[in-house]
């Protein structure tokens, strides 16, 4: 009898995901954005920090008043090229999001694996701690942490990372609990594999699927929070081209009619987060195979 190779949950999820058109579109969009951000040094027509006061607040190439030298989206209040700032800003905003997620993953995976696998006393303590952390509304917590630790990109990363850790602990733990129930773990224990071996060779690979799914969705909100902190002046600091920071600096100029500086960075945030949500949604649908519009017979 031929034995079918057992696919891990992750492999099955990815397989399902591939069939999802909107999800794949999201992946494409996300890849495009990341590529743009990474290629900023090559693509940006101007130095994002190059200020020139005689070019202040001039529109982009759609208008006659656009300054010479190809300022695609216009200039900001310091005369810097908005397009270049947005390209470079992506690295900052998205970077904060990614690192924050990384921190959340590190904390989440270590605590989640421990809680889920060992159970009992350890599990209780960790989960109580998680419940306490959940008592703080997310943005407020990040704001307070970043505010008290001092301001700056690194503080923002730590603040957001800590804020998202409790959720990640829960995701990892529930993934572990699901796998733990399965019989083949029991058989591993019966053979006498060490805890570490079981954890890393068997439990981890199979718990990866929910981590990746929810991690993607968390990254989406982490980026929103990163921009929010930047907007409030607690994250990135002047003169960083971070998207949220740029928005807050350009806000006042709306009254004078220079709308582009306060619009395009926001659009950049919106598109980035949409792409992540598309991917995350697609992955989540693929993780939980449901009969799409299936009939109940």
């Amino acid at each position: 009898m031929e034995q079918r190779k057992r696919k891990t949950r992750l492999q099955e999820t990815v397989h399902q995901f591939r069939k999802n058109k909107t999800g794949m579109f999201g992946v494409g969009l996300l890849a495009f954005i990341v590529l743009l951000s990474l290629s900023a040094p090559i693509l940006a027509p101007h130095d994002p920090y190059d200020a020139s006061l005689d070019r202040r607040l001039l529109p982009g190439i759609w208008s006659d008043e656009s300054p010479d030298g190809f300022f695609l989206l216009g200039t900001d209040s310091q005369g810097r090229d908005l397009f270049s700032r947005i390209l470079y800003g992506g690295r900052t905003t998205l970077g904060i999001g990614f690192v924050a997620l990384g921190i959340a993953l590190a904390i989440g995976i270590s605590l989640g694996l421990t809680a889920g696998y060992f159970g009992g006393y350890v599990d209780d303590i960790i989960m109580r701690f998680v419940d306490i952390m959940f008592a703080f509304p997310a943005l407020l917590l990040a704001l307070v942490i970043a505010g008290t630790l001092g301001r700056g990109i690194d503080k923002a990363m730590i603040a957001i990372g800590i804020t998202y850790s409790p959720q990640m602990v829960r995701v990892v733990r529930s993934g572990v609990l699901m796998i733990k129930e399965m019989e083949y773990i029991e058989s591993q224990e019966a053979i006498g594999s060490s805890h570490f071996r079981i954890l890393f060779r068997h439990i981890m690979p199979n718990s990866l699927a929910p981590i990746i799914v929810y991690g993607t969705l968390m990254l989406a909100t982490a980026i929103l929070d990163a921009a929010a902190l930047g907007f409030l002046g607690v994250g990135a600091q002047v003169p960083s081209p971070e998207w949220g920071l740029t928005l807050s600096a350009s806000r006042q100029y709306l009254l004078t009619g220079a709308w582009w500086a306060a619009t395009f960075p926001g659009v950049a945030i919106l598109i980035s987060v949409i792409s992540l949500n598309l991917v995350g949604d697609g992955l989540r649908d693929a993780l939980d195979p449901r009969l799409k519009g299936g009939a109940k017979l």
């Binding site: 519009g293 009939a295 109940k296 017979l297």
Partner: protein, 324 residues
Amino acid sequence: MSEKLLEVEDLRTYFYTDEGVVKSVDGVSFEIKKGETFGLVGESGCGKSVTALSIMKLIPDPPGKIVSGKIEFEGEDLAKLTEKQMQKIRGNKISMIFQEPMTSLDPVFTIGSELIETIQLHQDLKKDEAYGQSVEMLKLVGIPDPERRMKQYPHELSGGMRQRAMIAMALACRPSMLIADEPTTALDVTIQAQILNLMEGLKEEFNTSVLLITHDLGVVAQYCTNVAVMYAGNIVEYGSVYDIFEEPKHPYTKGLIKSLPSLDKNVERLEILEGNVPSLIDAPKGCRFQPRCDVCTDKCIDSFPDLRYVTESHMVRCHREAGK
């Protein structure tokens, strides 16, 4: 007594899916008389549930559709009725109970409110009258302390109780026909007998005909008057319960009966039917049972057999058997 209640003629119900057209019910005809219990037997996927749902016109559209056929009930062709007209019939003239009592009752409504809802929907009664009738129904189905149960939620009742409650709801408006789709499959064996006996008793009292759908031949033997055996969307044998059990003609029927464990026989191994049910999307050209049949001929591969009379009451869909 042998008055016709329901006549299904050449019913075809197809499901249009991404993978193709699933022909769940592909030309099914049978007749149910007043006061009888009619058994519809077959394995999972043969189309028996879909047949029942088609009669009630509860097929989800999309992706399903009753493509053709006549469903004559008390003089009307149900297939031609509008949704609004069907709503007057469902729960009122024809009722249906389902397999899983655990999940078939709305968890956020009390048993009482569900019953009262049915009664008030089809009968012009005031709340307290409907309440009284509901309590009566619960008593009739053998639920002790009915007034207390009226206020309870489904999860507070056991599986057997829930099925009784469902029967109460189904029969509250004294329908002429009750469709029971595997009513006891999900229940404990001891409860099964109780429920079936209950249904038998109520059938007598209310003069309701029963369309009993099951895969359990033992149940069929004990409770049914006439039987239709379904396979891959068609009826392959049709007759009285005596015809089917004493003189089975179709190889499939024979196989089913042989594989029943019995206290009389002394066998080493249970007989099994080899093979699997064919795909309902790409049905084979000839007889659909042919790949599993050990007495088939070349004709069986090429041409699709019709349902033919063997005796006055007994029909079979088989080239070999009908030829005799």
